[in-house]
């Protein structure tokens, strides 16, 4: 990642982890640190907002990591919160600087809606991605031809060039799998494997590709056969993201047709984790999933 090559001052170095996290997660980290400092100082969001020439909602957006940071704002907030330690101040200002830089995905701005840009940013910083897919083969495991077929479903009238850019973004995301990135643990519903998107040949090649991906040391595939999983899966596809940074909470990601939900409250995440655990225990084991996948390939 480009960020790694940027020179850093030695007074308040960012950890390697902080640099590798990418801007999206850096914003979340900085935001949650600022919130903790504000709460410790007993200052209300309104007061903090006033200090930086804004409102309570500006503070809320900053603390949730939804927007970039102005260094002047961060500096003023730190002063308001009574943070005078120079090392701590310069570390947080450095975080703010890094958080404003762009990820590799920025050049896909034209086709990347904000709600999905956030996901791509988060994905870069995960240590574990657990995903349940009902409809499609998960994006990280798609072949180019299958990805094109899926993209065409959603963008029938888009020019060919745009389709290709969308496909190329999806393939670019798959570089995560080359390591040393996150572990990916996917439960895929049998229907996603039986539905021949793009036709039988493309689907057969996609299923063979899945077999190969499943052999990667940090990838695990489980198939949920038709006769199982009904009640756990009632909510549809979702992903559970865990980050390498210990102080970042897990996040649930649910994609919709025109947007996405990011859930981070402990009780929400607990609920989805419970469902994910149920799905993982109900689905075929990885070894049996491989056998089932081979059977489906023969039938495709």
């Amino acid at each position: 990642m480009d960020l790694v090559q940027q020179p850093l001052g030695d007074a308040a170095d960012l950890t390697h982890q902080e640099i590798a996290s990418g801007p999206t997660v850096l914003r979340m980290m900085l935001g949650s640190q600022l919130r903790a400092l504000r709460e410790a100082a007993g200052i209300s969001p309104d007061e903090a907002g006033y200090e930086i020439r804004g409102s309570r909602s500006k503070i809320s957006r900053l603390e949730h990591g939804r927007v970039g940071f102005k260094e002047r704002d961060v500096s003023d907030l730190l002063t308001l919160y009574g943070v005078t330690d120079e090392r701590q101040r310069s570390h947080m200002l450095l975080l703010a600087q890094q958080a404003n830089s762009q990820g590799w995905w920025a050049k896909y701005d034209d086709i990347l809606p904000d709600w999905f840009e956030t996901y791509v940013g988060l994905e870069q910083a995960t240590s574990l991605i657990r995903t349940y897919e009902l409809q499609f083969v998960p994006g990280l495991f798609q072949t180019e031809a299958y990805a094109r077929a899926v993209t065409l479903l959603g963008h029938r009238s888009a020019p060919a060039e745009e389709i290709e850019r969308r496909v190329s973004l999806r393939l670019k995301r798959q570089e995560l799998l080359a390591g040393p990135g996150p572990r990916v643990w996917a439960v895929i519903d049998e229907s996603a494997l039986r539905r021949p998107l793009g036709g039988r040949d493309i689907m057969r090649a996609q299923l063979r590709h899945l077999l190969e991906v499943g052999l990667l040391p940090h990838v695990t595939l489980q198939v949920m056969p038709f006769d199982r999983g009904g009640h756990s899966a009632a909510g549809g596809s979702f992903s559970l993201l865990r980050f390498a940074e210990a102080d970042l909470p897990d996040i649930v990601y649910i994609e919709q047709l025109t947007g996405a939900l990011y859930l981070g409250k402990p009780e929400e995440v607990d609920h989805y984790r419970e469902v994910m655990n149920n799905l993982s225990t109900e689905a075929e084991t990885p070894a049996d999933s491989e056998r089932l996948l081979k059977k489906i390939i023969r039938a495709t």
Binding site: T220, D227, R228, D270, S280, T281, E282
Partner: protein, 272 residues
């Protein structure tokens, strides 16, 4: 879905109850993991209030596992491991440590919790040369464990039996000594037992208070044991240096490891 299929599904799905604290998830919380639920976090916090060093002690246990497996796969030349009470995977799992030294090492993980096993299958993938397998079994059914493990391990060759922080869940009525004896009887001379056990006689008041709280909040009860009681597990075996000691004192890898507080009796012993 037909009615029959729905019925099958209800019967066959290994549901788990997140409203009661579960030992593997409580332990995961102490290690800084996120595979836990509100009830687990509450129990873990309660335990920490009674014995504030429990999180450090849990980390000591993980560090000890790494050192013990490193020694067994290295100097001792062991290539087969039976790790009972896997827990939710963490850093430096048995097969990772063993296969880093000996890529052909074969490891069987055993746990009685379906969620732990689902995690284990996923996160504990073997090297190409070695093998890992996962058994859904309870330590109280040693014969079932041995039969299942025999599909992956060759019991005519030495095996390291790992019982790391698990025997405290076997009450005296379930005769933990008989269970360990049964496991050891199945392995040949030159095999090893690596065992850690929460101590009743290190920080005794705090440990007693913690045990009481855990037993109120967790489905699986705990029995902490004293040095002499833990020593009995090694009857008939040759304890390696430095003998039965608190976890940080078992061949610490660094001054930091040696200083980390813990209340865990630990020993690694060879079957003569």
């Amino acid at each position: 879905m037909t009615t029959d299929a729905a019925a099958d599904q209800t019967d066959g799905s290994p549901e788990f109850d997140t409203s009661v604290a579960h030992v593997a998830r409580v332990y995961n919380y102490w290690l800084g993991g996120t595979d836990n639920f509100a009830a687990d976090r509450a129990a873990a916090e309660q335990a920490m209030a009674a014995y504030p060093d429990i999180a450090a002690s849990a980390r000591s246990n993980r560090a000890l596992l790494r050192r013990a497996v490193g020694h067994l796969a290295g100097e001792a030349g062991i290539r087969q491991f039976l790790d009972i009470g896997t827990g939710i995977p963490s850093a430096n799992n048995t097969h990772e440590v063993a296969q880093a030294v000996a890529p052909d090492a074969r490891i069987v993980y055993v746990d009685n919790d379906p969620v732990v096993l689902a995690h284990a299958r996923t996160l504990l993938k073997s090297s190409q040369d070695g093998a890992t397998d996962y058994l859904d079994a309870d330590l109280r059914t040693a014969d079932q464990i041995l039969a299942g493990a025999a599909e992956t391990l060759d019991f005519s060759q030495p095996v390291a039996i790992m019982l790391m922080a698990i025997l405290q869940h076997i009450s005296d009525e379930d005769d933990p000594y008989a269970i360990v004896g049964r496991l050891l009887s199945a392995v040949p001379a030159g095999s090893y037992l690596a065992l850690s056990h929460p101590a009743r006689d290190i920080e005794p008041e705090k440990m007693a208070a913690m045990a009481e709280r855990l037993n109120q909040m967790m489905a699986e009860k705990v029995t902490f044991r004293a040095e002499g009681e833990v020593a009995r597990f090694f009857d008939g075996l040759e304890l390696l240096e430095p003998g039965l000691v608190n976890a940080p004192n078992w061949r610490p890898g660094s001054a930091e490891e040696a200083r980390r507080p813990a209340a865990l009796w630990v020993g690694v012993a060879r079957k003569p």
